[in-house]
Symmetry: C2
Subunit: 546 residues, 2 copies
């Protein structure tokens, strides 16, 4: 027997309908790519999104067609998302920070038909255009006055493009499982893989993100997503903001400390979100100028682990709560947020920071487990670490074109590729990537823990730890060190520094000194390259064992 | 093209799974029907709910079967809900405040197979049992020690009942549109009509209720639903609490001021909800004892309009925020909540109370419109009133057995039967019931506004206004007055009192004085009976017009 409630599909454009109806005059304040601050409202943004829908429809864009955006966070980019969503086409956010060849590969893989781009990226696209055969036209997100001369095919200024239709259009009613957005993961190996969000997954994700123990966004909040719309679905914020009628501040192309500070202060931002790098720049700016953050209430920090010192500074020096968060492109992307449950809420000082070093707990709608390699559940004791697996309505079940094949376990959980602990109150902490963890005699050693320890040595500039083949233990840790300029040190000095701070059997079997450690385009240590370089390395302990 | 996200149906029992996993030790504190305070946890509650599922399954209860509950808010009642939900059966909450014949009618209409009841209602059921042929067995929510001798068929004490199974059971995976719960509306005319919630509608409703501008429940909240689980789906709180890991306090059978105060104070309740009558009793208790409310943060008041003086007292005397709310059984039931958007947040004093007299604004997932009788949209100016219609995933599309036929308009909106204004910021205010509004020459007059004005006269105990046939204007208002004991007054005195406070054409055409105004079982003025009594009444103005 079925319930007798209304069939009301969860559609992303219903979010902007709600914002335009219930929060019509609330502002979206953007730093434009052209320079000046631009202000609009939800009512106006929806009206212009309807024009985007109408214009796309006129160009023959249909249900399931991909429309690429290569753009910063502005009101125009938001209009484009809702306009694309409103006719059942798919917004495909392309990350301009990828290598040009990767960009071309991704656009071709997605078979994008139209590409909407900011002025910033016109030169890049001109150099790539020959490699992008599926793109029928380029829309530059600017007005006629700022439109550059360009060789891009059928190039048109966005303001002219949407002025060519009258806006007398209605968003389509769709199946809620209709594809809504696409975002590629930048794998360290192989080609990038496309994640395909649905209207349903995006709406549910935003409802989850809205809850009090997640971001808790209200209409009284002023929300600034510094995390780009091209990065992991913008952590859902381009949907969560309007869903709750929050005022939005969009930073456009400038993410340096001074520019971010100006927006935080001038527009009284209460809630913002970005990766640690952005906040490092902001904190440096605050310290060098002696500025304060009187309006900011909370900052969500994710993308990579938030350093303890950063949390401490925000909270103790500036009175801003840090919400450490974790997620993945494959998770829409929020997986967990480190808000404080009653068991921890009364902690302060170092005890509070200990908990805030964890990546937090999942909202309703994200299930988590940690397992060993055999898929057996591991205990939630805050110590045992295992493969972190997740399940829920905003978690991927497959990649575009079935790239990578079946990605769920027999219980339907997605293996995140992370290794983590979970404590008795459900707080998860990332320990390592599963491909980087060192498997020594059936036990796991965290490469990240060893690296964090080694970089604490005053002579060390950078450290990496990889597993190297061992005849007795399968793998043992090798510590790879780049010394600070002008410093000298030996193996024993490094190991002595680590002694007593880790379990004895975690101690690296050897230390090698190198000039440079290889990095990926996004700045992470390229462990595959390191492992390749040291694949025949013979550990002194291996010689002894043989 | 469809998205590639996981198929994770929105099932109510996943809420208790989440609570038991992420908030395992959080407490549910109940005043038991037997008397003492009882404490349990989400982990324990879920384990016992599994036993309920297993036991129901053993008794042959299958997908879609109805299981009735006639019970107060306690941990056991919550266990029963989740146990029933977990096998795809339907919890049917029966309101013990209805007339016995209505209870029998409802149980028969729903064809309930098992009835779970509190000790309180055993005598009532014994007197009714002969009229309840579909009930195969009665489970009394108590233990063996408190189990009364009873003539009820196959009667068993709940604790024995669930002790007879081992709990080695799993909740079922179901289609999210599976019927979950049933609640009858107490219509003033005709038979009660069954509303059938689905798992999906209940889960989405709780997600909507969780947002910051609705109830904003967090794991740090201590939530007490005084509103009974048998009343309008408990305003969703039996689901919203565990969804967010809140501590819960369940008041059991005692809702007098002293009992409610004891729980609010002893267990540091931060958020509670009930109808105005309950809060009237609490405020009287506070005033007579000189008590304060140091822990309570907010109180949700709905079911009928919250008196302005009540809001004022809570806020000014006790520092507790009032959230005026509105909903219907047909809406799961929340429709709107009067939290303050930025446009109103800086108001204080009378200006703030003006806004808080409104029933508020809908969260994402509830669409509202006001229309005239022809279905044309009316302006949102805070003055024009029209039929209030709603649409959304937790709004009914039909009643059980299609009672009442088609209930949606051509755009899929449900007519609430209320008449309301909506202001430019989306705040809705109920003006009247549409069947009570007086239609005079094509214009509408609010009977409630006139009644509220008339009861302000110092000699008036109660007032009702109904529309009476008029040859020229179709209908004109007739004011029906019950004077306070020992008072005398005439028509002109009453009308003079109203003069200048309403539009001239709203002035009642006549006043009649009666000893008593008829009421429904739930204490509302029975206007149908009044209209029946005065159906041949000839207004003095009618005589003049003819």
């Amino acid at each position: 027997m079925f319930g007798l409630m209304q069939d009301w599909p969860l559609l992303c454009h219903r979010i902007i309908d709600h914002a335009a109806t219930q929060h019509a005059g609330r502002q979206i304040i953007s730093r434009s790519v052209e320079g000046p601050i631009h202000k609009t409202t939800y009512a106006e943004l929806r009206a212009r999104a309807l024009r985007v829908s109408q214009r796309l429809d006129r160009e023959g864009i249909r249900l399931g067609d991909r429309v690429a955006t290569l753009a910063w966070n502005t009101w125009r980019h938001m209009e484009c998302w809702y306009g694309i969503l409103g006719i059942g086409a798919i917004y495909h956010t392309v990350n301009p920070r990828l290598f040009p060849d990767q960009i071309a590969w991704i656009v071709n893989d997605a078979q994008d038909r139209i590409l909407l781009t900011d002025l910033t990226f016109v030169p890049l696209l001109e150099s790539l255009a020959g490699k992008l055969p599926t793109i029928e036209s380029y829309v530059v997100l600017t007005d006629a006055a700022h439109m550059p001369k360009t060789t891009l095919k059928n190039a048109v200024a966005y303001e002219d493009w949407i002025a060519s239709v009258d806006g007398d259009f209605a968003f389509l009613d769709l199946d809620e499982n209709t594809a809504a957005g696409m975002c590629y993961t930048s794998g360290t190996t192989g080609h990038p893989k496309g994640v395909v969000y649905s209207h349903r997954s995006n709406v549910l994700h935003s409802m989850m993100a809205s809850t009090a123990d997640a971001m808790g966004v209200s209409s009284r909040d002023v929300v600034m997503p510094v995390v780009p719309m091209f990065h992991a679905n913008c952590w859902g914020m381009a949907l969560t903001g309007p869903m709750n009628g929050a005022t939005m501040v969009m930073p456009g192309p400038r993410m340096d400390g001074a520019s971010i500070y100006e927006l935080l202060n001038d527009y009284r931002v209460t809630c913002t979100a970005a990766v640690p790098t952005v906040w490092l720049m902001l904190l440096q700016h605050l310290e060098s100028t002696g500025s304060t953050l009187p309006y900011l209430d909370r900052v969500v920090i994710g993308g990579s682990a938030c350093p303890r010192a950063m949390t401490k500074k925000f909270q103790e020096n500036y009175g801003v709560d840090v919400i450490h968060a974790w997620g993945m492109t494959e998770m829409s992307p929020l997986g967990s947020l480190c808000t404080l449950k009653p068991e921890y809420v009364d902690l302060d000082g170092e005890g509070r920071l200990d908990i805030q070093s964890k990546q937090g707990h999942p909202p309703f709608g994200v299930e988590m487990k940690i397992t060993d390699d055999g898929g057996r559940n591991l205990p939630w004791d805050g110590k045992t670490f295992g493969r972190l697996k997740v399940r829920g309505p905003s978690v991927a079940r497959a990649y575009f074109k079935d790239e990578g094949g079946s990605i769920l376990d027999e219980e339907g959980f997605f293996d995140t590729g992370d290794v983590a602990t979970i404590d008795r109150y459900g707080y998860m902490q990332i320990t390592d990537r599963s491909k980087d963890v060192i498997k020594s005699g059936g036990e796991w050693i965290s490469s990240i823990d060893l690296e964090n320890l080694a970089v604490g040595h005053p002579k060390v500039a950078e450290a990496a730890v990889i597993g190297v083949r061992h005849p007795k233990w399968d793998e043992r840790p090798l510590l790879v060190i780049v010394l600070k300029k002008g410093e000298t040190a030996g193996k024993n000095e490094l190991l002595a520094f680590m002694e007593g701070k880790i379990a004895k059997w975690w101690m690296p079997d050897d230390v090698v000194f190198v000039d440079e450690i290889p990095h990926t385009a996004t700045g992470k240590i390229q462990k595959t390259a390191l492992r390749d370089r040291f694949k025949d390395y013979v550990l002194p302990t291996a010689e002894a064992a043989e």
